[in-house]
Amino acid sequence: MIDSPLVTAERYGRVIKSTVETFVAECFTNAAAPPLGELLVVEDGTPIIAIVADISTESRDGTRPLGLHGGPEDDLQHVLDANPHIPALLRTCFTGVVAGYWEDHHLRQYLPSAPPPVQARVRRATAAECAGLIASFDFLRLLLGVAPHADDAIAAALRRLAPPEPERRPFLVRAGKALTVLLAEDPPRLHALLRRLQG
């Protein structure tokens, strides 16, 4: 987490597809995708806070699938050196799951009334913005409701949001408690999620 709010948070990409619950953004730089569980802010339009639930690399042209290059003895770097056009024809995208939005400087932890606009820029959230999120655990309900499940991303996000020791453990326990209430109907899922949180 960036500690100083004055540092301009890194911009990752732009929205290329969106719903009120999730959006897909393409990275400006394929190699600079946000990690799973990272907290994001969608600028341009109603400011939205989200977490990274998936990162994918795919061919830019949907009609052209990626094929295999090189033999079993060729390591990755060798294949990329021999085929410089491949990285150029790929794009990296990431999926963001909406955790809330700002309205008049208040962070609301429920879905906005409109999806993030396509082409809106997406950047990393600052420490102050993250702090606003963890004031309450309401946003977990939004994250848990996404299909397919983004549980690993949720656990990663919570571990990122956790303050440094000695408050880290109490924070994770509180998060775990909030999850227990939300996932009471699905004990195996809850158990798996709590184990990831503990890790």
Binding site: V41, E43, P47, I49, H105, A128, S136, D138, A184, P187
Partner: protein, 584 residues
């Protein structure tokens, strides 16, 4: 551009951190003395009859709560008081019972605590205050329930004290609650105006409690100004516990009896002067019973123990009809011929040979060994005993070696009580009719009461009658018993206040709690009392049931009694001495 949150520092909203939630809810309830900090949970369901279900706050472990303690429930302007009668462990995730967190899963355990697993209390509401700040400040019996999510906390000392009365002429201290140092007081007037019972398994401290009750009653009576508020006790002391001295609870020490502490307020009569002498007890009188004082009703009472057949009992009646007070002697003189024929008297009275034999054998056996039975009583000891009582002195009747003789006990008790019955009724009717003084309030203390109050027998004995009617004649009972289920339920229902130590028999517990509202919770409390030094008090003389640790019977107690004695009466000389009060 970053987005700062104006609510970025708001406390958690979902109550997972109990501390913060409590702070937030201060403004919701009436601002009373910051009690919220002791909050232990919320009312979530329940009913008036079944009790309230309280969801324990997350940070309160079920193991921190004790059954039998009091809780206060704040509900706006109303306040409810209740007793914790059960503690449960609950879980919202059934699977956890099969696959609980492992030994290395501390994190999971911490997370589940208070969310998936939590404690629930069952509380029996007993009293309510309708208007905490205003006019309706006095607690009343509960008639309603607090709404959902009302805050529950442990009752404070001040609250308990306020409920159980302050130090005044009306109340006396009986002990302290389990977890506090406040005084629990009984209402003296309410205590004496109805019959009461002290129950518990043997060895649980009934005698001890009774001593305490009697001491307090007598002392309180002395401090009453009005005659009508005074009371005297007549104790049928089967095991020589109450008079001069008795044994302590652990049966190693001797403890002083009523007379030693209260001096001339108490008179001791004995049936067995030898025994009294041996025990260094100085009786004020000796009881002798003349054969002419025994009546057929006494035989009826003792029919089983004496082994009298029904015909023999009828024979007694017949003999009494003919010979009046001489019936007993005449009964002993009945003869059977060698041929097994009745003598004329028998024939005349239609008493068969077999009945004669049965009767004679029983009567002789009965008379044997009872030195206190003489042919004719020299002077009317019994009358003087009654006079003692009427003059405001309590009486303890020591039975000496006859204590283990149930016949003797029951006979003396029955005879004496019959007299009392007549006397008191007479006096009352006179007072009602032509004016004059009502008789002083008399409390008759009997042990092994189920023998007298057994459903089969209760109809015959005078005790049954007293229990049912004598309140209007100012006579009540204080029964001490370990088998309350054997007491006639109709009699039991007359008992105003019941003080019970540990009972473990289902029927006994059921009997003690019969007719009590909210008894389902009390049953559990009763079954969990310590075997010593704990008693549950419920009924007329207390605003709500409470578990107490009775006052200790020690130097401070005696000093207190003696102090109050001196202050209320002119000094009297008595053979007891301060330093003698503690024999060790």
């Amino acid at each position: 551009m970053t987005y700062e949150n104006t609510n970025g520092n708001a406390p958690l909203r979902d109550g997972t951190d109990g501390r913060m939630t409590a702070e937030r809810t201060v403004s919701l309830w009436s601002a009373h003395e910051g009690h919220e900090h002791d909050s232990i949970g919320l009312v979530v369901s329940g009913s008036l009859t079944e009790g309230l279900e309280i969801r324990l706050d997350d940070r309160v472990l079920p193991s921190d709560v004790i059954v039998g303690t009091y809780v206060t429930i704040d509900a706006g302007t109303r306040r409810f008081f209740g007793m914790i009668k059960d503690i449960k462990l609950c879980t919202t995730i059934a699977q956890l019972a099969h696959t609980p967190p492992g030994p290395d899963e501390d994190f999971l355990r911490e997370v589940y605590q208070g969310t998936a697993v939590f404690g629930m209390l069952q509380v029996q509401p007993m009293l309510q205050i309708n208007d905490v700040d205003g006019e309706g400040r006095a607690p009343e019996p509960v008639k309603s329930v607090p709404p959902h999510f009302s805050r529950v906390r442990l009752s404070t000392q001040e609250e308990i004290e306020r409920i159980f009365g302050t130090e005044d002429g009306r109340h006396f201290v009986i002990g302290t609650p389990l977890d506090m140092e406040v005084k629990v007081r009984l209402d003296y007037k309410r205590f004496i105006e109805r019959s009461n019972g002290v129950f518990g398994k043997s060895g649980t401290g009934k005698t001890f409690l009774t001593r305490l009750l009697l001491l307090n009653t007598i002392q309180k009576s002395n401090s009453q100004k009005e005659q009508k508020d005074k009371a005297v006790c007549l104790v049928f002391d089967m095991h020589n516990e109450y008079g001069w001295k008795g044994t302590s609870e652990d049966e190693h020490r001797e403890v002083p009896g009523l007379k030693r502490i209260l001096g001339s307020d108490v008179a001791v009569y004995t049936l067995d002067s030898e025994s009294s002498k041996l025990r260094n007890s100085y009786p004020d009188g000796e009881i002798v019973i003349g054969l002419d004082q025994i009546e057929p009703d006494d035989m009826k009472l003792l029919q089983e123990t004496m082994g009298l057949s029904d015909n023999a009992v009828d024979a007694c009646e017949a003999l009494y009809e003919k010979f009046q007070e001489e019936w007993f002697r005449n009964a002993l003189e009945l003869q059977i011929t060698e041929k097994g024929e009745e003598d004329p008297t028998s024939r005349q009275l239609n008493i068969h040979a077999a009945s004669v034999r049965n009767l004679k054998r029983a009567l002789q056996k009965f008379k044997r060994g009872k030195d206190f039975i003489v042919d004719k009583a020299p002077e009317d000891v019994l009358a003087s005993l009654l006079k003692t009582l009427e003059n405001g002195r309590s009486v303890v009747i020591e039975f000496g070696r006859y204590g283990s003789d149930l016949d003797a006990y029951m006979l003396v008790a029955n005879i004496l009580t019959r007299r009392i019955h007549d006397r008191w009724r007479e006096k009352t009717e006179k007072a009602l009719g032509t004016g004059g003084e009502h008789p002083i309030h008399l409390i008759i203390v009997i042990e092994e009461a189920h023998k007298f109050l057994d459903p089969a027998v209760a109809g015959h004995t005078i005790f049954g009658q007293i229990a049912r009617e004598m309140r209007k004649y100012n006579v009540t009972l204080l029964v001490i018993d370990q088998r309350p289920s054997a007491i006639d339920p109709e009699v039991m229902s007359q008992f105003g206040t019941r003080i019970t130590c540990l009972l473990d028999n289902e029927r006994d517990i059921e009997a003690v709690l019969s007719g009590v509202s909210g008894k389902s919770g009390l049953r559990d409390v009763l079954a969990r009392l310590d075997s010593k030094q704990q008693a549950l008090i419920l009924g007329h003389a207390v605003p709500m049931p409470i578990v107490v640790r009775p006052e200790t019977y020690d130097q401070t107690t005696y000093a207190r009694f003696r102090e109050s004695l001196r202050s209320s009466q002119p000094a009297k000389s008595d053979p007891s001495d301060d330093s003698d009060l503690f024999i060790n």
